[in-house]
C-alpha cells in the first residue's frame, strides 16, 4: 500500500505541475483592439480619422493623381508609355468587363469604385460613432467638432471624385452592415449626388476651424472643392451638351437653369478670391510682364512657376490644399515623381510624355502662336548651325513662353547632372531625345541617351520625343530617392480659371471679369494680356489657358468631358524625330506616319466610366451608365 501512496503523490505532483492557473484559451488579442476601444478614446478616434484621410483616394500611398500613370495621359496632353491600353476610352475597350485605368487602385489606376467605397464605409463609421467618443475638456470637445468637419470634407472629396467619373452614385451617410438587404439600394441621380456633396461641404465648412493644420481639411479646401464641383455641374456635359444622354438623370441634370449654375460656380470661386477663406494669391508677380522677355526673364518666370510643384515645407500663397510626402524608409506616404516621369538616361521610367500637339500649344514668349513654319503642312524644321546662331528662334524650342520650360523636357533642354555612369556619355547634362548624325555621311552615329535606342534602359525611353518636367524635383536622383515635394491638389490659379470660365460662359458684363482673371494667370507666367469681347474667342482663350497652366495636373480629362470635345481633340500620338549633326546642323520632324499610340474616340459612352460587371452581378438592381447597359 505504501507503494500506491508514493505513486499517487507523484501523479498528483505531475498533474499539478502540468495544469496552469489561467486558461490559455481565455486571452485577449495582443496586437490589436476592437471598435469599442476606437470610439472610446479620442486619440484612437483621431487615428481612425487618419485612416479615412489615408484612403480617401483609394490607396495608402498613391494619393489623388500623384501616381506613376497620369490621368492626363488619357487626354491629348500626354502618352503613358508603359500602359497605354489602360486608357481604355481611347482604345474602344472600356466597358463593364474591362475598366482599364478605373479598375486599378495603385500607381496605374484612379477612381476605383471598390476602394473609395471601402473608405466611404470607414468615414461613415467614424461619423456614426464620433459623438460617443468621451471628450470632457474643451479642447477635446473642439477636436471632436473639428474632426467631424474633416470627415465631412473627406466624404465630399470621395463622392465628388466618383461622381465626376461615374455620375449618380449610391449615396448614404450611414455605415452599411453585414446582413442588410443590399438588393433594394439604387443609384441616386446626378443631381441628388451633387446635393449630397454640397451639403457635406457646407457642414464641413461650419465645423472646421479657421486655422487647420497644413494638409488637413480646411475651409479653403472646402471652398475650392465647391468651386470645382459647381463648375462641373454647370458644364455642357451634364446640361444637355451631350444630346444622347441629356435625359438620363444618372449622368445629366434635369431641369433647372444652366445660367444659375454658372452663377453659383462663379460665386463659389469669387468667394475664395475675395479672401473669405484666407488670403490666397498667385506666386510671383501679376504685373504686366516686360514687352520683350530676355532669356533670364524667361528663366525667372519659369522657375517661379515651377516652384509651385516642388514645394516641400510650408505652403506658398497659391496653395489651397496639397498632399504631403516624406522620404522613403520613414514609413510615411511617399511619391516617386522623378523616377516615374524622368528620362531613361537618368535611370528613370519616362512614363508620361507630353505629345507634340500639346507641346505645340505652348505660345512664343511674346504671346504669339507657335507654328511649324514651312507652310507646307509638314511638321518640319531644319536649320544649319550658322542659321541657328543668327536666329535662335529657328529652333522650335527657343523663345517659347516660360511655362514651356517649366513643363516640358525636350531635346537639348538642360536638366540635372547625369548619374555617374552616364556622365561620361553626356557631361553637359542636356536631354537627348534625338539622335546624332554625321554631317559628312548623313549616317546616324549615336543614339540619344533618352531615346528608345539608348544604351540605358531603352524600354523606358520616350516614344514621342518629350518628357514631362513639371513635377520633377531637379535635386532628386529618382533612381535612388523618393520625392518629398507636395502634390498640389487645389491652387489659386485653378480657382481663377474656374471663375474665368463661369464668367465667360455667363457672358455680358461678366465676360471682362473672366478675361481679367485669365490675364492674371498669364501675366504671372510672363505672358501679355488677352483682349477680346467675343464670347467664343474668350472661351478658346480660357480653354487654352487651362490646358497650359494646369498641364498634367489632372484637369484635362474632366475638361474635355465637361466641354464635350473629346472627339475633337483625339488624334494618334506620333514620333518626334530629331537629328543633331556633328557640325551643329539640326532637323526637327514630327512624323505623323510613325504612330506611337493609336487613339480613337469610338463612342460617346466613354464620357462616363462604367460600373463593373462584377458589381452589377452582385447588385443587379444597379443601372449602368448610358451605352454600357447591355
Amino acid at each position: 500500500m505504501k507503494k500506491v501512496h508514493r505513486f499517487l503523490i507523484v501523479i498528483t505532483l505531475l498533474l499539478f505541475g502540468a495544469t496552469s492557473c489561467t486558461d490559455v484559451l481565455d486571452q485577449k488579442p495582443v496586437d490589436s483592439f476592437n471598435q469599442d476601444a476606437v470610439f472610446g478614446d479620442i486619440g484612437l478616434a483621431k487615428a481612425f480619422l487618419g485612416r479615412c484621410y489615408d484612403r480617401m483616394y483609394g490607396h495608402a500611398n498613391y494619393m489623388s493623381l500623384c501616381r506613376e500613370d497620369l490621368l492626363d495621359a488619357g487626354t491629348d496632353q500626354a502618352l503613358c508609355i508603359h500602359r497605354p491600353a489602360n486608357y481604355a476610352w481611347f482604345k474602344n475597350s472600356l466597358g463593364p468587363d474591362y475598366l482599364g485605368f478605373f479598375g486599378n487602385t495603385s500607381y496605374n489606376g484612379f477612381q476605383n469604385w471598390n476602394a473609395i467605397y471601402n473608405n466611404m464605409q470607414n468615414t461613415n463609421l467614424f461619423l456614426a460613432n464620433v459623438d460617443n467618443v468621451p471628450a470632457t475638456t474643451a479642447p477635446d470637445q473642439a477636436l471632436i467638432t473639428r474632426m467631424k468637419g474633416e470627415a465631412h470634407w473627406i466624404r465630399a472629396m470621395m463622392y465628388s471624385n466618383l461622381w465626376m467619373a461615374f455620375g449618380g452614385l449610391i449615396v448614404t451617410d450611414q455605415p452599411f452592415e453585414l446582413g442588410q438587404d443590399f438588393l433594394t439600394i439604387t443609384r441616386s441621380s446626378f443631381e441628388e449626388t451633387l446635393n449630397f456633396i454640397l451639403a457635406d461641404i457646407s457642414t464641413a465648412m461650419n465645423l472646421l476651424d479657421d486655422n487647420m493644420e497644413q494638409g488637413r481639411a480646411s475651409k479653403a479646401a472646402c471652398a475650392a472643392l465647391k468651386s470645382k464641383v459647381l463648375l462641373f455641374a454647370a458644364s455642357p456635359l451634364v446640361n444637355g451638351g451631350l444630346a444622347s444622354t441629356a435625359s438620363n438623370p444618372l449622368v445629366a441634370l434635369q431641369g433647372g437653369s444652366q445660367t444659375a449654375r454658372y452663377q453659383a460656380a462663379r460665386d463659389a470661386a469669387k468667394a475664395i478670391m475675395d479672401g473669405t477663406y484666407g488670403s490666397f494669391s498667385l506666386v510671383g508677380t501679376t504685373d504686366d510682364p516686360p514687352a520683350t522677355l530676355t532669356e533670364d526673364d524667361i528663366k525667372a518666370y519659369a522657375d517661379n512657376y515651377h516652384k509651385i510643384f516642388i514645394q516641400k515645407g510650408a505652403w506658398n500663397s497659391e496653395t489651397i490644399h496639397a498632399i504631403q510626402f516624406v522620404a522613403a524608409g520613414t514609413g510615411g506616404n511617399y511619391s516617386r515623381l522623378n523616377i516615374w516621369h524622368g528620362p531613361n538616361g537618368y535611370h528613370n521610367w519616362g512614363n508620361n510624355n507630353p505629345t507634340e500637339p500639346a507641346v505645340r500649344k505652348f505660345e512664343m514668349a511674346d504671346g504669339s502662336k507657335f507654328v511649324w513654319d514651312n507652310g507646307d503642312g509638314e511638321f518640319l524644321r531644319t536649320a544649319t548651325a550658322a542659321e541657328l546662331t543668327a536666329d535662335p528662334l529657328k529652333s522650335p524650342y527657343n523663345g517659347r513662353e516660360p511655362r514651356f520650360y517649366a513643363t516640358v523636357l525636350y531635346h537639348g533642354a538642360p536638366w540635372s547632372t547625369r548619374p555617374s555612369d552616364a556622365l561620361g556619355l553626356d557631361p553637359t547634362s542636356r536631354i537627348q531625345t534625338g539622335h546624332f548624325y554625321s554631317s559628312a555621311t548623313g549616317e546616324k552615329t549615336d543614339n540619344g541617351l533618352d531615346t528608345r535606342q539608348s544604351l540605358i534602359e531603352a524600354w523606358n525611353g520616350t516614344k514621342n520625343g518629350y518628357y514631362i518636367r513639371k513635377f520633377m524635383d531637379p535635386a532628386v536622383a529618382g533612381q535612388y530617392f523618393y520625392n518629398e515635394n507636395h502634390w498640389v491638389e487645389f491652387r489659386y490659379a485653378e480657382i481663377l480659371l474656374n471663375y474665368a470660365e463661369a464668367c465667360i460662359e455667363l457672358g455680358g458684363a461678366d465676360l471682362q471679369n473672366g478675361i481679367d482673371a485669365i490675364n492674371m494667370v498669364r501675366n504671372r507666367a510672363g505672358l501679355p494680356d488677352r483682349v477680346t469681347a467675343d464670347q467664343a474667342e474668350a472661351r478658346e482663350f480660357l480653354r487654352h489657358e487651362r490646358f497650359i497652366e494646369l498641364f498634367g495636373e489632372g484637369h484635362r480629362w474632366y475638361d474635355l468631358r465637361r466641354w464635350v470635345i473629346f472627339d475633337e481633340v483625339v488624334e494618334n500620338v506620333c514620333e518626334m524625330k530629331i537629328k543633331e549633326f556633328d557640325n551643329g546642323d539640326m532637323e526637327w520632324f514630327y512624323d505623323i506616319t510613325a504612330i506611337a499610340d493609336e487613339r480613337t474616340w469610338a463612342s460617346d459612352k466613354f464620357y462616363w466610366a462604367p460600373i463593373s460587371r462584377d458589381e452589377l452581378n452582385k447588385a443587379p438592381q444597379l443601372v449602368n451608365n448610358p451605352g454600357y447597359e447591355d
Binding site: 498533474l15 484559451l25 481612425f48 473608405n119 443590399f182 494638409g215 524608409g329 524600354w459
Partner: protein, 1072 residues
C-alpha cells in the same frame, strides 16, 4: 561572351580537393578515436560497473557458439549476415551456407544479427551453444511498429490508411532537405520542389491533393493546404530542421486515422519519430557524403545575333525604328567586335559548372541497465551554383535522447535538440538573380572583354555581380532549442496501465541582418577607345567604375522569437483478455505559441565597417514590430480492439478548443471510426486462397478540421499603422485601421473522409499489393461571401465558413520481393496516386457565360483563351475571327462561342491546375553480396503552369531560345510558335489576354535518386574496432527520363527560378 577570368573579389580558389579531403581526414580521425575509445576511455568509464568486467577479453570462460541464419520467408540460408556480440567488437560473418561460429567469453551475452534490408535481431545467448536465426525482411515486417499518432501500432494491426517509410531510406540521399528526399516514396503524397536555392527549396507537400481553396505555393504552415507535421509528438516543428540520419521513421496519416489530430488534420498528418538508442555498449557511427551539384536544365536564351534578329523582325513588323542594323547583326554573329558587339551568355557567366554540398553526422548510442542514450551531431551545407561563391546554407544539429529509469515503475526521459540554420544570400533574391540572367540582353556586357563586369540593365541589375556579396549580405540565422521532459509511470497495481506526462518547450529565435551597399559596375568611356585602324574595331577602352543599385549603404535588422509550449498528460491501457486484445488511450494536450518580432531600418552609413543599427544616419529610419498569440487545448482518445488479430476495430476521438474561435463555438469534436478484417486468417481463405498469404480489408470514416488564418477573427480588430503627413513640419499621422472584419461565427473547416483499402501479400510475400480509394468532403471552407455583397457597401468581408470542395482519388502501392539466389535479393516497388477535386460551392458571382462558372471545376482551374495556333498569313487572319490588329504570326484564339467575335466570353476554364492529379514513384532495390543498389524513379502527371510571366521580353529583355527557334516568320508560316513580339504590346500578351499558349504541361518522369553501397568486408577493419563500414555513391535528380516540356526543369516549373540541382555524392558510413 566568353567567360573571362575575374578576380575582383576572389574568395580563394574553389578547392575541389580540399573539400574532398576534409571528410577523409575526419574518417582517419575517427578511426583513431575508435581504436582508442574501447581500449581506453569507455572501459575506464565502466570500470566501476560490475557486469562489464565479465566482458574483458582475457576472461578464461571462453565458449564456442555457432548456428545458421536463414531468410524467414524463403527459408534460404543467408550469407554475409553480421553476427556480433553486443557491447563488444567480437563478431563474425555468416558463410555461403548461412553458418557462423564465434567464441564468446560469457554465457549471458546477447548476439546481434544484422543484415541490410532485414530487421536486426538481438538474441540473448542464455547459455546455448547453437543459435539459429530467421531474419525477416524489413520492408514488410508484420511486427514492425509504426507510429500512428500518440501511440504506436503493429503494422499488421493498423486499420488506417497510413504510409510509413524508415528513415534509413532517405539518409544517403544528398538532398538538403528531408521534405525533398521523401518525394516519390509516399503513396498519396505529392512532394514538389519549387526551387533549388540552398536553404530555400520551398518544398510543397500535398497529401491526397488539394481539398480546399487557397494557394499551395507557400511552404510549411503558411497556407491552408500543407499537412500537419508532428515530430516526436510535437506539433509545429519543421521537418527540414532534422538531420535525416536522426529519423527513425516517417509516417503519413491519410484517412480517418488522422482524426486523432482533430482540428488541424484535414490536410493529412506527417509523423516523424527520431531515433533513440538501444541497450548495449556505445556504438559510434559516422556518416558523411560530399556531393557535387549541377543544374538539371539551364533554360536557354537567345544569343546576341538571334536576339537582335528577332527584335528587328518585330520592329520591322510594326514599322518601328530598328535598334540593330543588319550590320550590327552580322557583327554579333561574327564576334569580331567584342567591345561594341558583345555576345553575352548571362546565365553561363552567372553559374559555374559544379558546386558542392556535404553532410557529416556523428551519432553515439547505447544503454546500460535501462539507461538508454542517443546523441548526434550533424553538420550539413549546401553551396550555390553562382560562379562567385556567395549564397550558402549551413545547418548544425545537436540532438540527445535519454531514457532514465528511476524505479521499476517510474521512468523519465529527456530529449534535447539544438538546431542552427544559417542562410546567407546576396542582396537580390534567387528569383531576381536567375530571372534577370534570362532577361538581360545578350547584346550588352556581362563582362567587358578585359574581364571587368559590365553595366546594369536597370537598378544595378547585373547578375554576375548581384549574385555576389559585393551587394552586401542577407544573413538569416535561426536558432532553435527543443526540450522535452517525460515521465512514465507503470503503476504496479493495475496491469497494462501506463501513465505519461510530458512537457515540451521549444524556442525559436530568428535573426536577420541585411546590410546592403552600392556595388561597382564598369561603364564605358567611349572617347578613350583605341581602335584597330584596319578594322575600326575597338581594341581597348577605359572603363569607369561606378557605384550602382543603392545611393548609400542601408541596414535592416529583424529579430523574432517564438516560444511553443506543449503539455501532455496521457494514460494508456493495454490488455489481452483471451482472444480479445484491447488498448485504450486517453490524453490531454495544451499547446501555446507566442511570438514577437521587431525590425529596424537605417541608411546613410558613412562606412561599411560598422554594420550595427546605431551607426546609421538619422535621415531615414524606421522601427516596426508585432506580437501574436495562439493557444489550443485538446482531449484525445483512442480505443482499439481486435479478436485474434483477425477482426480489428478502432475509434479515435479528439476535442479541440482553439483560441482562434469565439468562446461559444470554440470546441470542436472530431471522431474517426476504423475497422479492419484480416481475411487471410480465416479458415476458408487458407483453404481456397492460400496463395494470398496476407489480406487485410480496411474501411474508415472520420471527421477532421483545419483552422488556418490568424487568431481572433471573431472580433472586429483594429490595428495601428502610418497615415498621411500633416503640418509644416510634416509629421506622420498614426492611423488606426480595421485589420479584420469580424465573423462572429468563424470556425474551422471540416472534412469528412471515407476510405476503403486493402493490404495484401501473395505467394509467400513475393508480391505485395495495397490499394486505397478515398472520398473527402471539405466543408465550411473559409472564404468571403463576396458574390452577394456589393462593393459599394465598402464592407470588407470576413472569411466565412461557406465553401465546399469534394476530393476523391485512389492510391496503389505494389511490389515484388525476391531473394533470387543466396547472394542476390531484389525488391521492386511502385506507387501511383490519383486524385481530383471539385469546387462544389464557393458563393461565386454570376458569370457572363456558363462555361466560365468555376463551381464544378477543380480549384485553381484557370480562365484562359484557348490558343489554337498561329495565323500563317493574311488569308488565315481573314478566315477566322480575330482581335483588332491581328497580323500573321499572331496567336489564334478559339472563338469558343462561335459568334464571330473574340471577346472575354471566349475564355474557357482549363481544368489542369498547378496541383498535379497524378503522382507516382517506383523503386528498385537490389542487394548482391556486399553491394546494394537502391533506385527511385518519380514523376507527376499533368500540371499546368505559366511557362513564365515576365512581360519585359522584347525591347527590355531577352527572348528564350524556344521562342526563337521555329518562330513564325514570313518564310516559316506553318508553326505554332508566335512571331517576334515586344513586351505587352500584342493583344495576346501574357498580361492582358492570358491564353493557353503561355501555359506548359509540367508532367515528367525522372530518376530521382540512386544509392549504390558497398559494404567493406569486415576482416579488413575488424582489428580497428570497426564493426561495419560501407562506402556509397548516391545521386539526386539524376536524370529526366521524360518530360512534357524540355526547356527547363518541370518540377521547379519556372525558368526564372533557381533550377533544381542534379547531385552526385560520395560517402561513407562507419560504425564502431
Amino acid at each position: 561572351m566568353k567567360k573571362t577570368p575575374y578576380c575582383f573579389w576572389s574568395s580563394g580558389p574553389d578547392d575541389f580537393f580540399h573539400k574532398l579531403l576534409m571528410p577523409v581526414k575526419i574518417v582517419v580521425l575517427i578511426l583513431f578515436c575508435g581504436l582508442a575509445l574501447p581500449a581506453y576511455s569507455l572501459s575506464a568509464d565502466y570500470a566501476s560497473g560490475s557486469d562489464l568486467t565479465e566482458l574483458t577479453v582475457d576472461d578464461p570462460q571462453q565458449m564456442a557458439v555457432s548456428g545458421t541464419v536463414t531468410d524467414a520467408t524463403s527459408g534460404d540460408p543467408m550469407p554475409g549476415v553480421n553476427v556480433q556480440v553486443r557491447g563488444t567488437t567480437l563478431g563474425a560473418i555468416t558463410d555461403v551456407s548461412g553458418r557462423y561460429s564465434l567464441n564468446v567469453t560469457d554465457r549471458n551475452v546477447t548476439l546481434v544479427f544484422s543484415f541490410i534490408g532485414y530487421v536486426t535481431q538481438e538474441i540473448p545467448l542464455e547459455g546455448r551453444n547453437v543459435v539459429n536465426v530467421e531474419l525477416t525482411s524489413e520492408v514488410l515486417d508484420l511486427d514492425e511498429v509504426i507510429v500512428v499518432g500518440y501511440t504506436t501500432q503493429k503494422r499488421a494491426n493498423v486499420v488506417g490508411a497510413v504510409t510509413s517509410i524508415p528513415g534509413a531510406s532517405i539518409q544517403a540521399i544528398p538532398s538538403a532537405s528531408v521534405s525533398n528526399a521523401i518525394s516519390g516514396r509516399l503513396p498519396g503524397s505529392v512532394v514538389i520542389q519549387q526551387s533549388g536555392e540552398p536553404g530555400n527549396l520551398g518544398t510543397r507537400i500535398l497529401v491526397r491533393g488539394r481539398s480546399t481553396l487557397g494557394s499551395t505555393n507557400a511552404t510549411e504552415n503558411r497556407n491552408s493546404t500543407y499537412p500537419l507535421v508532428v515530430i516526436d509528438g510535437i506539433i509545429g516543428r519543421n521537418m527540414d530542421d532534422i538531420d535525416p540520419n536522426d529519423i527513425e521513421s516517417l509516417s503519413v496519416l491519410k484517412d480517418a486515422s488522422a482524426a486523432i489530430y482533430g482540428a488541424q488534420a484535414a490536410n493529412g498528418v506527417i509523423l516523424i519519430t527520431t531515433k533513440k538508442g538501444s541497450e548495449g555498449a556505445p556504438k559510434l557511427n559516422y556518416q558523411f557524403y560530399q556531393g557535387f551539384m549541377t543544374p538539371t536544365i539551364v533554360p536557354q536564351t537567345t544569343n546576341a545575333w538571334q536576339y537582335a534578329t528577332m527584335l528587328s523582325e518585330y520592329q520591322d513588323y510594326e514599322g518601328k525604328t530598328r535598334t540593330y542594323s543588319d550590320a550590327d547583326i552580322a557583327l554579333y554573329k561574327s564576334g569580331a567586335d567584342p567591345w561594341e558587339h558583345p555576345d553575352s551568355d548571362w546565365y553561363g557567366d552567372l553559374i559555374k559548372d559544379w558546386t558542392t554540398n556535404f553532410k557529416h553526422t556523428l551519432s553515439l548510442d547505447g544503454g546500460y541497465r535501462g539507461v538508454i542514450y542517443y546523441f548526434s551531431l550533424g553538420f550539413r551545407g549546401d553551396e550555390s551554383m553562382y560562379a562567385q561563391s556567395s549564397t550558402n546554407y549551413k545547418q548544425f544539429n545537436v540532438r540527445a535522447k535519454l531514457e532514465l529509469p528511476i524505479t521499476d515503475w517510474l521512468k523519465t526521459g529527456f530529449d534535447f535538440a539544438g538546431i542552427q540554420n544559417d542562410r546567407t544570400y546576396p542582396r537580390n533574391s534567387a528569383s531576381s538573380i536567375v530571372g534577370q540572367a534570362t532577361r538581360l540582353l545578350p547584346t550588352q556586357w556581362s563582362f567587358w572583354p578585359d574581364g571587368k563586369p559590365g553595366p546594369d540593365i536597370e537598378y544595378g541589375d547585373n547578375p554576375v555581380v548581384t549574385s555576389t556579396f559585393e551587394t552586401g549580405k542577407d544573413e538569416q540565422k535561426t536558432y532553435q532549442l527543443q526540450n522535452t521532459f517525460r515521465v512514465e509511470i507503470t503503476p504496479p497495481f493495475v496491469k497494462g496501465l501506463t501513465l505519461r506526462g510530458q512537457f515540451n518547450y521549444d524556442v525559436n529565435n530568428f535573426y536577420r541582418h541585411r546590410f546592403f551597399k552600392p556595388w561597382i559596375l564598369y561603364f564605358p568611356q567611349w572617347e578613350t577607345a583605341v581602335r584597330d585602324p584596319s578594322t575600326g574595331f575597338i581594341t581597348s577602352m577605359d572603363l569607369t567604375p561606378t557605384p550602382r543599385g543603392l545611393s548609400s549603404p542601408e541596414n535592416y535588422e529583424n529579430y523574432s522569437r517564438r516560444i511553443r509550449k506543449t503539455t501532455n498528460i496521457e494514460a494508456m491501457f493495454v490488455r489481452k483478455f483471451g482472444d480479445h486484445n484491447i488498448t485504450l488511450f486517453g490524453g490531454f494536450e495544451q499547446y501555446t505559441n507566442d511570438a514577437n518580432d521587431f525590425q529596424g531600418f537605417r541608411k546613410y552609413y558613412i562606412s561599411t565597417l560598422i554594420q550595427t543599427l546605431d551607426a546609421g544616419g538619422d535621415a531615414e529610419k524606421n522601427a516596426t514590430g508585432g506580437m501574436s498569440i495562439y493557444a489550443r487545448k485538446s482531449y484525445i482518445a483512442r480505443g482499439t480492439y481486435d479478436f485474434r488479430g483477425k477482426y480489428l476495430a478502432e475509434i479515435v476521438f479528439r476535442a479541440d478548443g482553439s483560441l482562434k474561435f469565439p468562446p461559444e463555438g470554440r470546441w470542436g469534436y472530431f471522431p474517426g471510426f476504423l475497422v479492419g478484417w484480416r481475411a487471410s486468417e480465416e479458415g476458408f481463405w487458407k483453404d481456397n486462397l492460400a496463395f494470398i498469404n496476407f489480406f487485410k480489408l480496411r474501411a474508415s470514416y472520420g471527421k477532421m478540421g483545419m483552422d488556418p488564418g490568424s487568431s481572433f477573427q471573431y472580433i472586429n480588430k483594429f490595428a495601428l499603422t502610418n497615415g498621411m503627413t500633416f503640418g509644416t513640419g510634416r509629421a506622420i499621422e498614426i492611423s488606426a485601421y480595421p485589420s479584420s472584419v469580424a465573423n462572429p461565427n468563424i470556425t474551422w473547416e471540416t472534412q469528412t473522409t471515407q476510405n476503403i483499402g486493402f493490404d495484401s501479400k501473395l505467394f509467400r510475400d513475393l508480391i505485395h499489393l495495397n490499394f486505397e480509394v478515398f472520398y473527402n468532403k471539405r466543408e465550411d471552407i473559409l472564404t468571403p461571401k463576396d458574390a452577394s455583397v456589393p462593393n459599394f457597401t465598402g464592407l470588407s468581408l470576413p472569411d466565412e465558413n461557406i465553401a465546399r470542395v469534394d476530393n476523391k482519388g485512389f492510391e496503389i502501392d505494389a511490389g515484388v520481393h525476391k531473394s533470387l539466389t543466396s547472394d542476390l535479393r531484389i525488391d521492386v516497388t511502385g506507387n501511383f496516386s490519383w486524385n481530383r477535386n471539385e469546387v462544389v460551392f464557393m458563393d461565386e458571382p454570376e458569370r457572363a457565360v456558363p462555361w466560365q462558372v468555376r463551381t464544378g471545376h477543380p480549384y485553381g482551374a484557370t480562365l484562359l483563351y484557348n490558343c489554337i495556333g498561329v495565323f500563317a498569313d493574311d488569308a488565315a487572319v481573314d478566315a477566322y475571327p480575330s482581335l483588332p490588329g491581328a497580323k500573321p504570326g499572331d496567336l489564334i484564339f478559339e472563338d469558343y462561342d462561335k459568334n464571330g467575335v473574340i471577346d472575354a466570353n471566349d475564355r474557357i476554364l482549363v481544368d489542369n491546375t498547378d496541383a498535379p492529379e497524378v503522382f507516382y514513384g517506383g523503386s528498385i532495390d537490389v542487394s548482391w553480396k556486399a553491394f546494394s543498389l537502391s533506385m527511385l524513379i518519380q514523376g507527376q502527371g499533368k500540371f499546368m503552369v505559366p511557362r513564365y510571366s515576365d512581360n519585359r521580353r522584347g525591347e527590355a529583355g531577352n527572348y528564350f531560345l524556344w521562342q526563337f527557334e521555329n518562330r513564325w516568320t514570313p518564310e516559316n508560316r506553318n508553326t505554332d510558335i508566335s512571331r517576334a513580339y515586344n513586351r505587352g504590346d500584342q493583344y495576346w500578351n501574357f498580361d492582358s489576354r492570358r491564353s493557353t499558349y503561355w501555359y506548359d504541361n509540367m508532367a515528367y518522369t525522372r530518376l530521382k535518386n540512386l544509392v549504390l553501397t558497398y559494404t567493406i568486408p569486415s576482416q579488413i577493419y575488424k582489428s580497428l574496432g570497426i564493426s561495419r563500414a560501407s562506402i556509397y555513391f548516391s545521386g539526386n535528380n539524376l536524370a529526366l527520363l521524360w518530360s512534357a516540356q524540355k526547356n527547363f526543369d518541370p518540377e521547379i516549373a519556372n525558368p526564372m527560378q533557381y533550377p533544381a540541382m542534379k547531385t552526385f555524392a560520395f560517402g561513407a558510413n562507419v560504425t564502431f
